[in-house]
Symmetry: C2
Amino acid sequence: MNAPTPMIRLTTQRQIILEELSKVKTHPTASEVYDMVRKRLPRIGLGTVYRNLELMAENGMIVKLEVGGTQKRFDATTDAHYHIRCSCCGRVDDIDVPVLDSLVDAASENSSYQIIGHHIEFTGICSKCREEDNITSLQ
Amino acid sequence: MNAPTPMIRLTTQRQIILEELSKVKTHPTASEVYDMVRKRLPRIGLGTVYRNLELMAENGMIVKLEVGGTQKRFDATTDAHYHIRCSCCGRVDDIDVPVLDSLVDAASENSSYQIIGHHIEFTGICSKCREEDNITSLQ
DNA sequence: CTGCATGCAAACCGTTTGCATCCCC
DNA sequence: GGGGATGCAAACGGTTTGCATGCAG
């Protein structure tokens, strides 16, 4: 499952990916991270970005957000918190609602699964899309 | 956004897709639905399945589950309820935890979004995967 | 030095779409 | 009869992977 971290090599690419991800409070997709990183490392490959985001997520350094929409998103903040996704443009923000750890207990009693965790995803329309009354297709 | 339902034509394909989806309590992916339907309509196209699942979701006849994992999943049960996804094999089941409508109010007070709804997704290991101590890569 | 990490490009997989034909209303 | 629906296949977008080379330890 999560191996005892077999020592994670500190390459320039990894440092910069982590730095750039930590800089933003949005929850960028892999290709958004790629764009940010490419400004500092123009020759980096998209594959490297994917490989390292995945690896850092496995090592608990960052979080891979399993949210709706077509693309995975990444978050350098690893404390438990919930998210809200704009049905219109797909952006994801943190939302300040207290974390309900008790839910896991409640769920454990009503399921044959061995429960690991939970996540709440709110959906709504962000203020930007409301301004632009962006009546495009909802994601 | 959601048009006032411009009358949805009752084709054989639609009926059978809906019937097959209603038959199961799992939450099949589009290609799983395709496989089920193909037993009764061998010439149906995968595109037709996608188009109709999408259309029925827009019309509120079924629900498209915006859950983690690589594929979207579909649910013929439209009442609000939460789900649990197996990190090991990706299957999704219903979970019997009371629906917390109050969350939306709490969220509304702490966000600039106009909130539409929410969904809770638990993650865990299903009993089948535990038996097989299926230590494959987690999704 | 040696093996893990990288850049590059091709492959992959789920989903969408264009188009000629079909068939429900 | 006509317009939406279908089957088919090609295109698409996001992600993964194979491979020769590079570089951290």
